[in-house]
Symmetry: C2
Subunit: 232 residues, 2 copies
């Protein structure tokens, strides 16, 4: 017995990454033995990892039917983004004009990562973009804001994976660059506007488009309603 508590963390991190990068799509079942076999751990420790993910609402438990990757409804998605708008505003208001040179450097480096991943078409792009927003929250020094942002970007990735079309990520990198530039300048009004538009744009590129594009998005879009109708 390897008496190390780090193993649940490892499984948690692995599964979380797989969900954020959309390797595990919403709705995917997560049987405990299968995962345990993969990671070489018993169901006990797998379950703990799953419960961590459930506390972030990335997966959900159904009674006696195990865990599955969450499928947020459209309503939940709208709630998520409206709250995220407000939290992100709190973050940039705290940061505007107060970023150190080292922090700016870190942000630029993060954006470069996004850029590289984006050009390679790698699905790690989603994660890097999420980490940019998380980095901003962490720079406020508030553990709580960082914690909330971590959950928000995680859940956002889920929503974008569900309702977004394949190439929803266009242009987002430049928006990040503009945002950091304005944060450095300390132009609070512009920063708030940029962040607002950035998040609106992400949402538009994802959800709104999904409604019009019938090829891939609509099917997933309607799936929750179909299931709801079947349940009642």
């Amino acid at each position: 017995m390897k008496q190390r508590g780090g193993r649940v963390e490892a499984i948690y991190a692995g599964l979380r990454l797989a969900i954020l990068e959309q390797v595990l799509e919403p709705g995917t079942k997560l049987p405990e033995d299968t995962i345990g076999e993969q990671f070489g751990a018993s169901r006990t420790v797998v379950r703990r990892a799953l419960e961590l993910l459930a506390s972030e609402e990335l997966i959900e438990f159904r009674l006696n039917r195990g865990a599955a990757v969450c499928k947020p409804t459209l309503e939940e998605a709208r709630d998520l983004f409206s709250v995220r708008q407000e939290i992100e505003q709190l973050v940039v208001r705290r940061l505007c004009g107060r970023l150190t040179r080292a922090q700016l450097k870190r942000l630029h480096a993060q954006i470069d990562l996004e850029d590289a991943a984006h050009k390679n078409g790698h699905n790690a792009y989603i994660r890097h973009a999420a980490e940019f927003h998380l980095a901003l929250a962490e720079m406020t020094g508030s553990q709580l804001l960082a914690r909330y942002m971590r959950q928000l970007v995680g859940r956002s990735a889920l929503v974008l994976g569900l309702y977004g079309r394949p190439r929803w990520t266009d242009c987002s990198v430049q928006e990040h660059r503009d945002l950091v530039a304005s944060l450095a300048d300390g132009n609070i009004a512009l920063v708030e506007k940029l962040m607002h538009h950035h998040l609106e744009a992400v949402l538009t590129r994802a959800i709104e488009t999904a409604g019009k594009d019938k090829t891939g998005g609509l099917r997933d879009l309607l799936a929750p309603y179909a299931e709801a109708a079947k349940a009642t």
Copy 2:
């Protein structure tokens, strides 16, 4: 074996209540067997309940040393209240002038509960006051805001229990009444000001006073630092 998933919820709810009403004080150890014996459940199910509480940061796990009620540091307390200020502002901005008659009725009823508990000196007062803020968040219709508020008021109760003096609750009831009145009027500026002052007042009555009152508060105030020094 009673195959009901509701048992972990029951233990979770019971422990949470005990913590919020300060029956279980910060620092109290929570041995799994003891709790399991009390609630008539095995360690497995107790552990799940404890992990739920840990995800709200009401308790914390120390490696190989089990769970204990959290003792937020002063820094964490300040972070908590500064973020809570901002979240509560988001809540009242969403509600101002939009409360239905039924909602107002519910809020008044909630305040009456506080009042009654307060006059009886009952420690249930803390919980009722917390539920008032939670009720506001729920009325926004945002699941996320409600969720965050639930965590925030829970953790606040912990902080107030740690750093607050015995009679820190004075006058808070009237502040709640004034707040609801302004919400009904739709006077957004006044509402924001009242909520801000209310939370500041709670903090002042608790933390600030603790620093000046050397009889009980200061000891607890310094305890975290003493432990931190011992650890390093």
